[in-house]
Amino acid sequence: MAAAMPLALLVLLLLGPGGWCLAEPPRDSLREELVITPLPSGDVAATFQFRTRWDSELQREGVSHYRLFPKALGQLISKYSLRELHLSFTQGFWRTRYWGPPFLQAPSVWINLGRSSVMSSQGSSAPLSTSSTPPTQSLPLPPSNPWVWPMTLTTTFCAMLCCRGRWSAPKTSPPGRSSCPVVPRASLISFHLLQAGLSVLLKADRLFHTSYHSQAVHIRPVCRNARCTSISWELRQTLSVVFDAFITGQGKKDWSLFRMFSRTLTEPCPLASESRVYVDITTYNQDNETLEVHPPPTTTYQDVILGTRKTYAIYDLLDTAMINNSRNLNIQLKWKRPPENEAPPVPFLHAQRYVSGYGLQKGELSTLLYNTHPYRAFPVLLLDTVPWYLRLYVHTLTITSKGKENKPSYIHYQPAQDRLQPHLLEMLIQLPANSVTKVSIQFERALLKWTEYTPDPNHGFYVSPSVLSALVPSMVAAKPVDWEESPLFNSLFPVSDGSNYFVRLYTEPLLVNLPTPDFSMPYNVICLTCTVVAVCYGSFYNLLTRTFHIEEPRTGGLAKRLANLIRRARGVPPL
């Protein structure tokens, strides 16, 4: 069962109808790559990337012949004239403080179904953003109904995306772009598999024993040449996992491919034009003798990644010597001297978010932004989407760093509309060097209509993570690289200028309890309340509002009444 439970997105690779044996020069190409990075905490991160590039103008030409590029996605692009699509499913939370800044930014995750069991639960969250081109005459209009996107993507990726309310667009993003930063609860339902090349390593039961698991699809147009006269379409499918060194290695930090994936590499993917494994062998102290990679790499690659200089050992699977010698490639890394059990280096930017206060009436959302750079301040763009049922009091928004108020240089706030649209709060905050900045805002918990509660209301309601985007000062100057030539992972970080690098972080999602009625009791309560109201209230009200007069008992009888009738006729007061 475990082997048959494969990984999601790779189905798309299979969708090519098999026309690759044709002799014509390929207009599309596939590159695959695995980067293995020992993290500062001792865990090991593995990032797979499969990149398909197709030199075809999907939106203009009536393309019907697909080779490597998945047809389902291609049709999606041409039908809705998509400009870009990014979709990621993540389980776990990238702990920036211990793992360093992430390679691929994807928000943290919540687990929806079966939070308690491991093998059968595949809940996830999906940050999602799509962009449509402005409509032109030759193209059908992009869907105005915001539900079309979730629906279409749901069918394509066999995932469940439910987004409450309308998707909102941050003001800083270009027009025409709709994005849902995070869909708090998405369930990934079905899986597919391809076994060749690097994807041999994608063995589900190992991948689901990791601390972090994120898979993503990114589609975007890229320039075909330097002058950008025509465009190609690029599809990247990525998977990053973090292996818990403590559990896998019984406390040792040594690792090997086999220990992590319980597989070794045996052959390159026949479809791929490039198939490489990169291993980060940068040593944190200057002494080069601390670690050893086996087999020894033929070449190494040096570059500045996320502000620090890194060295990678390269294993090229297309290099026949690499695999043919032993029929399998099991890369191992051994620490010669066990690294000391010391606190790992802290990245320059990390964040923490929590709900403060107690009780079910009010609360406070607090975000702590850490700038650990010793002498440089830098700005951070903080984007918060808060569901409408937490009613934010914007006047309580306080930003303090180092005990002083910190005035954001830009604030955009879009109030929520009940049941329609969440709060959107966007701020540009300057973080002073070596400081902690606290952003807090108070909220009140709304009482929902009783049909609006989820089936598990006492679990709480999720608040999506804040998104932090920052240009973090770099320690080493980086130079712009040629994307087509450099490794794939390198092109993940847009380098605008050499002195700083771009980081996007997601904070923890939050779980907030709302006032919840006792759903098991409604009939008792309704019956009791109605009875009490009917019996007591009516008569008390009656007693309190009425004035009482003592009525004379009627005496007399027929004779008196007759006499009175006569007297009334005569105009004399009755007896």
């Binding site: 069991s117 598990d456 007591c536 008569s539 007693l543």
Partner: protein, 621 residues
């Protein structure tokens, strides 16, 4: 209700209430007490059952086998603690990191309002150490807490050892869906309070502490552990928290299930659970346990560090290892397995614990009384006050209407008699004065401790307690002077109106207390109601006065202490009792300031002034 709108029948009913008032009151009081005693008998007490689906069956295989490791950790911890004389923070950090946790520390400091002589502390500063086990592929939205409070003495080393061994075992498992926080606090409950306040980023008690560096989302449940020996004969479970709050009954059921599964001997209030509920012995034994629980809950103090978690809606209980002279002993593995089982079950929770009861009384570990069944007891007691108030109201009414009432012209709905205004005005002075006394009782002892220590040869803590008693006693002298201000126009009307107000005030207060903390409400009602009903300025005044003093809130506290030790089979001598009483007063004030316990303000600002009103009635001239 037609009964009330019909003047004839209304008058008949009124006469009935007036004529039969005394027997009705006695009957109602007796019924209340009898109902309470009957709570331990099977129709009213029910067997506990697990309501939460996610924790339904005990299909968990406990694999904890780190007994030796736990003992080694405990030995090291005790040695380091002895060496440094405080919590060995660096050692704890190192050890927690070596078992694979994310470790953080939090330092806190607190100056108590006056020196705590029971725990021998005044200026407190300490450090909490906690390690977080991060659940794989989860986003730290939910967590569970295992906490060990460490006091100044060298107890609880074994608990720390077991905590570390459990952490090491848990770290190797892959099934966790919630983060687990392993928390070791210094200065037992003060540390816990500091950590909880920092975790929720609030400050309710004026604690100074450093902010927390690591968090793990919403805490779903917590277990506090106290163990001071390598082997235990039984595990005692404490549920009563701050201000009488109780954890969800399912948490207790969970503990009991794993005790049964592992064959552990479990006790509640230090008492074994009676086997046989059908004969008389079982319920009688249950009654002891029930009374102990009522006394503990009424005290409103947290009986273990779990009690502080309850304020933040974290279901929590404390497990205490007891090592007595019983023959059969269990080692740390058995306790560890029970804890492992509980944590794995809590890990399965899909929602917060909410299914089972939050308001209950426990005559045994597997028996409970739900709120619907115990509330009538206090209801009957409060009915006495209601009946008395009704009688007074009607007597006042008749007095106001003068002599025309018996003359036959019935006018039950006449507007308020003009003399009513005078009656109300006469109430203002006693009410204000007794409330002011209450305020003085609340504020002065702590505020005036320094003045007292300068002028009298006493320590601060003694000064506070003695000032407390002095103000309390001074209140008794006041009422003679309060009503002289009032013109003696209608002699009876004055005290009747005052008593009416006092009765309603008392009934309202007791009603509210009973709703939030049944035990306290019931205890106070049992003692205060009869004398409150009896108090009047005629008849054997000295007897009434003696009775009233005996049932005052302070005397109730003293009596409860004696009853408490009696039930624990460790009776007190008078002198011991007095010492304990003084200590309890100091603790009560201190707990109000350090944890926010409400018993002290409730008694000093609410019930003591109310009781003074009755004293006032008694000495009305």
């Amino acid at each position: 209700m037609g009964l009330l709108s019909d003047p004839v029948r209304r008058r008949a009913l009124a006469r009935l209430v007036l004529r039969l008032n005394a027997p009705l009151c006695v009957l109602s009081y007796v019924a209340g007490i009898a109902w309470f005693l009957a709570l331990v008998f099977p129709p009213l007490t029910q067997r506990t059952y697990m309501s939460e689906n996610a924790m339904g069956s005990t299909m968990v295989e406990e694999q904890f086998a780190g007994g030796d490791r736990a003992r080694a950790f405990a030995r090291d911890f005790a040695a380091h603690r002895k060496k440094s004389g405080a919590l060995p923070v660096a050692w704890l950090e190192r050890t927690m990191r070596s078992v694979g946790l994310e470790v953080y520390t939090q330092s806190f400091s607190r100056k108590l309002p006056f020196p705590d002589e029971t725990h021998e502390r005044y200026m407190v500063s300490g450090t909490n150490v906690y390690g977080i086990l991060r659940a794989p592929r989860a986003a730290s939205t939910e967590s569970l807490v295992l906490t060990v409070p460490c006091g100044s003495d060298s107890t609880n080393s074994q608990a720390v050892g077991l905590l570390l061994a459990l952490a090491a075992h848990f770290r190797g498992q892959i099934y966790w869906a919630k983060d687990i926080v392993f928390l070791v606090t210094e200065h037992d409950l003060l540390g816990t309070e500091a950590w909880l306040e920092a975790y929720h980023d609030v400050n309710v008690t004026g604690m100074q502490s450093s902010p927390l560096q690591g968090r793990a989302g919403a805490i779903q449940a917590a277990v506090a552990l106290e163990l001071s020996s390598d082997v235990v004969t039984s595990l005692d479970v404490a549920v009563e928290g701050l201000n009488g709050q109780l954890p969800n009954l399912d948490l207790l059921n969970l503990f009991q299930t794993f005790c049964q599964k592992g064959g552990l001997l479990c006790t509640l209030q230090g008492k074994l659970q009676p086997e046989d509920w059908t004969s008389l012995d079982g319920p009688l034994q249950g009654l002891q346990t029930l009374l102990l629980m009522v006394l503990r809950q009424a005290s409103g103090r947290p009986h273990g560090s779990h009690g502080l978690f309850l304020r933040y809606r974290v279901e929590a209980l404390t497990l205490r290892g007891i090592n007595s002279f019983r023959q059969y002993k269990y080692d740390l593995v058995a306790v560890g397995k029970a804890l492992e089982g509980m944590f794995r079950k809590l890990n399965h929770l899909l929602e917060r614990l909410h299914q089972s009861f939050f308001l209950y009384l426990l005559p045994g570990l597997s028996r409970f009384v739900s709120i619907g069944l115990y509330m009538p007891a206090v209801g009957f007691l409060l009915l006495v006050l209601g009946l008395k108030a009704l009688e007074l109201w009607m007597q006042l009414h008749e007095a106001g209407m003068g002599l025309e009432e018996p003359g036959g012209a019935p006018g039950p709905s006449v507007p308020l008699p003009p003399s009513q205004g005078v009656g109300l005005a006469s109430l203002v002075a006693p009410l204000l004065i007794s409330q002011a006394m209450g305020l003085a009782l609340y504020v002065l002892p702590v505020l005036g401790q320094h003045v007292a220590t300068q002028h009298f040869p006493v320590a601060e803590a003694e000064a506070v307690v003695l000032t407390l008693l002095a103000i309390y006693a001074a209140g008794l002298a006041l009422p003679h002077n309060t009503h002289r201000v009032v013109s003696a126009q209608a002699p009876d009307r004055g005290w009747m109106a005052l008593k009416l107000v006092a009765l309603i005030y008392l009934a309202l207060q007791l009603g509210c207390i009973a709703l939030t903390n049944f035990s306290l409400g019931f205890l106070l009602a049992t003692t205060m109601v009869p004398t409150a009903a009896l108090a009047k300025p005629h008849g054997p005044r000295t007897l009434y006065a003696a009775l009233l003093v005996l049932t005052s809130p302070a005397a109730t506290l003293l009596g409860s202490l004696f009853l408490w030790r009696e039930l624990q089979e460790a009776p007190l001598s008078l002198a011991e009792g007095w010492q304990l009483f003084l200590a309890a007063l100091a603790q009560g004030v201190l707990e109000h300031h350090t944890y926010g316990a409400l018993l002290f303000p409730l008694l000093s600002l609410g019930l003591y002034p109310c009781w003074l009103l009755f004293w006032n009635v008694l000495f009305w001239k």
